[in-house]
């Protein structure tokens, strides 16, 4: 019973972390059709900026988080204007630009801070004891913020005017232009939101696990799995995909050793995609 409760809580928290990390990536992929490979690098850089602001400059850590979100969000504006807009609809070249950004960001971290991993103090310390299970407050906060961000984003896309415009763009770009939607403005909003959410994820996860210049590569892999499994073009899909991936990653290691569990999880994902290539809730594209 205790094992089951422990597993259940782990499933929820892992899922929330995956969703938090993949949110911005999913938004750009579904709405603007951008395969944002530099998402992982932006996540990493945000962690480092927050660490620098709080540890070196001595700013309150929560304030540092807000500042990081602002800085990285405005970096998103720059990215959209100079790196994504010139290559709209050109898959290969936008991918190459993304790799260029990754190289620059990672190298900058290595040159300025160094390759060793750094630890950031947790946002909230302490452990919550609830009956048979105990959870660290930090994981609970991560879970709450991940869930809240997903909720806000889904609400934003379904209920606001820019959200409506994004959905129009993802369905029919030409049609959206003819309705007078300023597609450059809308994709700028999408990129800024994506970068800001990557920043939140980077700060929280950077405090939870240690900072390291290449931690974004793993995140990129997880985000890709979530988005493909959930279905391109569907934001609620990544919620289910996050739950599934969290469940696989939390339960399989109980029964198998780490890498065998990984093989089984990847095999399961490949089989699902063979029979449902558009993911759980996706629609066919191109």
């Amino acid at each position: 019973m205790e094992l089951a409760a422990g597993i259940f809580i782990n499933v929820l928290i892992l899922s929330a972390m995956y969703i938090l990390v993949a949110l911005g990536f999913a938004l750009l992929f579904s709405i603007a059709g951008i395969l944002h490979v530099s998402h992982g690098a932006i996540y990493t850089v945000s962690g480092y900026i927050c660490w620098q602001l709080s540890q070196a400059a001595g700013i309150n850590q929560w304030l540092a988080l807000v500042l990081t979100v602002l800085i990285v969000g405005s970096f998103g504006l720059f990215l959209e204007r100079f790196c994504f807009r010139p290559f709209t609809g050109d898959f290969d070249r936008s991918l190459v630009v993304g790799i260029g950004i990754i190289l620059i960001l990672q190298t900058t971290i290595v040159v300025t801070v160094g390759q060793e991993s750094r630890s950031m103090s947790p946002f909230v310390a302490g452990i919550l004891n609830a009956g048979p299970v105990s959870v660290s407050l930090e994981r609970l906060v991560t879970f709450a913020i991940g869930a809240a961000l997903l909720g806000v984003l889904v609400w934003f896309i379904n209920n606001t005017k820019p959200g409506l415009q994004m959905r129009a763009m993802s369905q029919d770009l030409q049609g959206a232009i003819m309705q007078g939607i300023n597609i450059n403005r809308v994709s700028a909003i999408a990129v800024v939101i994506a970068c800001a959410s990557a920043a939140v994820a980077g700060c929280l996860m950077g405090a939870y696990i240690n900072l390291n210049p290449f931690m974004g590569d793993v995140v990129l892999g997880k985000a890709l799995i979530l988005v493909i499994l959930g279905g391109m073009g569907s934001m609620t899909g990544i919620f289910y995909a996050g739950l599934l991936l969290g469940a696989l990653d939390a339960t399989l290691p109980v029964f198998f050793s780490g890498s065998v569990a990984e093989v089984i999880a990847m095999g399961a994902i490949i089989v699902v995609l063979l029979f449902r290539p558009t993911g759980f809730l996706g629609r066919a594209i191109a």
């Binding site: 490979v37 010139p86 290559f87 290969d92 070249r93 991918l95 190459v96 630009v97 790799i99 260029g100 190289l103 620059i104 990672q106 190298t107 290595v110 040159v111 590569d217 892999g221 890709l224 799995i225 493909i228 391109m232 050793s257 890498s259 065998v260 990984e262 093989v263 990847m266 095999g267 994902i269 490949i270 995609l273 063979l274 290539p277 558009t278 594209i285 191109a286």
Partner: protein, 315 residues
């Protein structure tokens, strides 16, 4: 590609090159360049059939690990284990080719990406045989420990591989692949068996990836998982795009610019990725068709200029 004299000259220069290069490190860089040329050109061969094989570095890994394990744990001579590794890579390529042929474009790219990740986690899962994340060491070398014999081996191997892949591209299968890539519906309507030709393309690509991986294992004598990861495959795609997707020599130019040049500038240490980033960004912003695309349009511009000069001088 039509000038035999040029290629014969290039071959002679490459044959005598080791007589003038005394640094073993430089020879090592050239050998690695040869391996990656085979890998990247075979990557592009699969791309011409309209498939984006994001598991390609993983197939290199299959070749490398199968060959290394056969030679190290079962005492097979590398001369037999290398073909074995390459054939296993091709076999796996054919086996997954059948189910994966159901999917096209982005969906194919994504499922092959996940297959590449599956290969890597399988390597980590069988750590007893593969050495896991720490890597497999003390693999029997193919030609001893001096670099120069390998130079001639890789030169020959690369020349033969390029010849085979180029002949394929300009012959019937190559044309068929391009037809499928442009429109699978039109290709099917003129009687092309789309799935069959796509499987043939990935079988050939995986065969050469396996060859590159197996020879790499017995040349380097140490293999680790990072060379076969998702990012490694993405780098192959970058080589192809920077060199120019539309041209057979594009990937070769890309490997040279992005692998060999940064290696030569090794003194800059941790600043080296800036050089790669600069090359990547310059090419992607200023040369929409890659380096070879730019050279081609420059040459045709020169030819135009020459022609107009001649006609205006004529009367």
């Amino acid at each position: 590609m039509a000038k035999p004299g040029f290629w014969a000259g290039l071959l002679i220069i490459l044959l005598v090159l080791p007589l003038f290069i005394k640094s073993p490190y430089l020879i090592h860089i050239i050998n690695m360049t040869f391996i990656y040329i085979i890998l990247t050109v075979s990557f592009r061969t699969i791309m011409t059939s309209g498939q984006l094989p994001l598991a390609h570095a993983g197939f290199m890994g299959i070749g490398a690990y199968v060959s290394a394990i056969a030679a190290k744990w079962f005492g097979l001579t590398p001369w037999l284990s290398i073909p074995l590794g390459a054939l296993v890579a091709m076999g796996v390529g054919i086996l997954i080719g059948y189910p994966f042929a159901r999917l096209r474009a982005v969906y194919y790219a994504m499922i092959s990406l996940f297959f590449g990740m599956l290969i890597l986690s399988a390597v980590k899962a069988f750590a007893k045989w593969t050495g896991g994340a720490a890597g497999l060491t003390a693999i029997p070398p193919l030609l001893g420990f001096s670099k120069v014999p390998y130079y001639y081996f890789f030169l020959g191997l690369t020349a033969v591989s390029l010849l085979v892949l180029y002949r394929l591209e300009i012959s019937r299968p190559g044309v068929t692949w391009k037809a499928i890539a442009q429109s699978h519906l039109v290709a099917a309507s003129v009687g092309i068996n789309e799935a069959r030709y796509r499987i043939i393309a990935s079988a050939i690509g995986c065969l050469f990836a396996g060859i590159a991986g197996a020879t790499y294992a017995h040349y380097n004598t140490v293999v680790g998982t990072t060379s076969f990861s998702f990012m490694a495959t993405i780098m192959l795609l970058i080589y192809v795009v920077v060199g120019g997707v539309g041209s057979f020599i594009g990937p070769i130019v890309g490997v040279f610019l992005l692998m060999t040049v940064p290696e030569l500038l090794r003194e800059l240490r941790e600043y080296v990725p800036y050089i790669s980033a600069a090359i990547v960004l310059i090419v992607v912003f200023l040369m929409p068709k890659g380096v070879t695309g730019l050279v081609k349009s420059f040459l045709s511009w020169l030819a135009e200029l020459w022609k107009s000069r001649r006609t205006s001088d004529a009367p």
